[in-house]
């Protein structure tokens, strides 16, 4: 019993929005769609909601084909990134509207509206118009409207993007708790890896309309299937370096630590490292060393993003971003040495498929995902 998508394609005006999507979403689990903008998250949700007809493929709910079922009959609800409420109705009327349309009895409507408003902490504002509320309250109103009817599928399309950081944190936790008590199929989309990790549900990685990987978020973080999947979990993205069979050491790049690696000896590959795994100090462990120019140091509260660049073979100038803990200033310094522990390297084949991921390195030098 679940929502299943079979070979779903969505093509509008010669543009592919979704390609060959095969997925299954189960009730009770918190399903997360993680992908950058234009990855197809919204398109996928629109197809599931019935707002868009797929060009190919089937949507099955609990074993029944609902591909052609009109949106009004699907019993879904959806919360958008923008705060979408009916501006001319009060909060109460907004929340009650799906119930009224389903011909629920007035006293039952009253009970459920009040209960849902209580849950989302907007009880004091029921008689106001949505535009008289703050952004967070407006979105709570939209969420209440989505939760008040017992929808079989609840879609949250980046619902917290337009809210400030604090509010996001608290709403995210609430949202997870609220939806856990239901047996609806909940699907939540986001562009942010930390959100997917914090929600910790069944995560599907989307990239350019295709599914890259599906599974628990933490597992994906450790074992990305390819470079795109790995990049989705890192902001800034992985720092990469393409290496050939013959590792070329230059004056400012010392790759000798990689020399004994069998995997790299097989042919061209891309090695990459997480922004927070680059050290500025020499390490005991085997490491590669790069002399780089400092371009910019961005300092936020307790961390520093250091933008550096260096020349590498025919690839020209490579730009890396390092994520350092604490505040570092480099006011007088123009150059510095980077040390990358070999054990922390990702290795990808030229097509981007992951051959080795860092956490495995210690246990299994030949490790293949």
């Amino acid at each position: 019993m679940a929502l299943q998508l079979f070979d779903l394609d969505l093509r509008i005006d010669q543009v592919d929005y979704l390609a060959k999507i095969n997925l299954e979403f189960t009730p009770g689990a918190f399903n997360v769609l993680l992908g950058r903008t234009l990855a197809g998250k919204t398109s996928l949700m629109r197809v599931i909601a019935g707002l868009e007809q797929p060009s190919n493929g089937k949507v099955m709910l609990h074993g029944k084909d609902i591909t052609a079922l009109p949106v009004q009959k699907r019993n879904v609800s959806m919360v958008y990134q923008q705060f979408i409420n009916y501006p001319h109705m009060t909060v109460w009327e907004n929340i009650a509207s799906p119930l009224k349309l389903n011909r629920v009895k007035p006293d039952e409507i009253k009970r459920r509206v009040e209960q849902t408003a209580e849950l989302l902490q907007i009880s004091p504002y029921l008689q106001r118009l949505p535009l008289e509320l703050s952004g967070g309250q407006q979105q709570r109103c939209a969420m209440a409207r989505a939760l008040v009817k017992d929808a079989q599928i609840i879609l949250f399309d980046e619902p917290l993007v337009n809210l400030d950081y604090k509010l996001r944190e608290s709403l995210r936790i609430e949202l997870k708790q609220i939806t856990q008590q239901r047996d609806s199929i909940v699907i939540y989309s986001t562009t942010e890896a930390h959100e997917a990790l914090a929600l910790g549900g069944q995560t599907t990685l989307l990239h350019e309309g295709k599914v890259l990987q599906s599974g628990p978020a933490l597992e994906q973080f450790h074992y990305p299937v390819d470079l795109n999947a790995a990049d989705l979990y890192h902001e800034p993205p992985l720092n990469r370096l393409a290496v050939g069979k013959a590792l070329v050491c230059a004056e400012h790049i010392n790759l000798s630590g990689l020399a004994g690696d069998k995997l790299l000896a097989n042919g061209d590959s891309i090695i990459a490292v997480r922004p927070d795994q680059v050290s500025l100090h020499p390490l005991d462990k085997e490491s590669m060393q790069i002399e780089a120019d400092i371009d910019l140091a961005e300092i936020s509260a307790s961390e520093t993003y250091l933008h550096v660049s260096f020349d590498y073979r025919e690839f020209g100038r490579l730009n890396w971003v390092l994520h350092l803990n604490g505040i570092h200033t480099f006011s007088n310094q123009k150059k510095l040495s980077l040390f990358v522990p070999i054990s922390k390297l990702f290795v990808f084949d030229p097509q981007g498929k992951a051959l080795r991921v860092p956490s495995q390195v210690n246990h299994d030098i030949e490790g293949v995902v």
């Binding site: 909601a49 949106v71 009004q72 979408i84």
Partner: protein, 273 residues
Amino acid sequence: MMIGANAFSVRKLLGLLLYLLFVLLPIYWLVMMSFKTNEEILGQLTLWPAQFTFDNYVTIFTDPSWYMGYVNSMIYVVMNTLITLVVALPAAYAFSRYKFVGDKHLFFWLLSNRMAPPAVFLLPFFQLYSSVGLFDTHLAVALAHCLFSIPLAVWILEGFMSGVPKEIDETAYIDGYSFGHFFVKVFVPMIRSGIGVTAFFSFMFSWVELLLARTLTSVDAKPISAIMTRTVGAAGIDWGLLAAAGVLTIIPGILVIWFVRNHVAKGFALGRV
């Protein structure tokens, strides 16, 4: 400094007052004339009626050939406004929500209808309506005016509708509204300012339009504006009576503006008027 600012604002006030006087003088003159007798109007220059009289108004309200003019005008103006809204609302919705072949061209073509002077359409309308038996009916004038009011209405409403995010439509469908239900219960109330503005423009256009209204009617649906142009009697022009008719013609416009003033102000700010 303070004195300078005051002097400036006094000058500004004076300028504005002069302008206001200049603008309102004709209306003042019209109102005063309507309370004067013809002898006084033609005799001497008076700022205030020497012999105050309601006779002109009494004539209009008691003579069917006068007051039926107002009734006729009212009927076709209201018909025109209703037809315009009923046609333009779905049309504007289509332009704002759907993409179809030639939508932009069609939209511009609609607007270009307004670029032709009404006189251009005089002959075809007269010919057509005479042959189908619509001549001298309220519907004839209302339909003829629609040619001008509908394009403008579509254009104004499209601006308002495009200001409503498409996600609202979708949310309504997800909530379970059918299209018709959504349109009437959710969408129309959301753009009521736009509808107010549109109704106002259709009303005013139809109310002041003379050429088509006069040509397409003869007796039964003759509008007030046409009656006013034909009041040269054997005794010359009845100035006082004409002035009274003029005053009464201004009043519906003032009333309409009064009722939709908030919507129009909002409409001017939001839409594309």
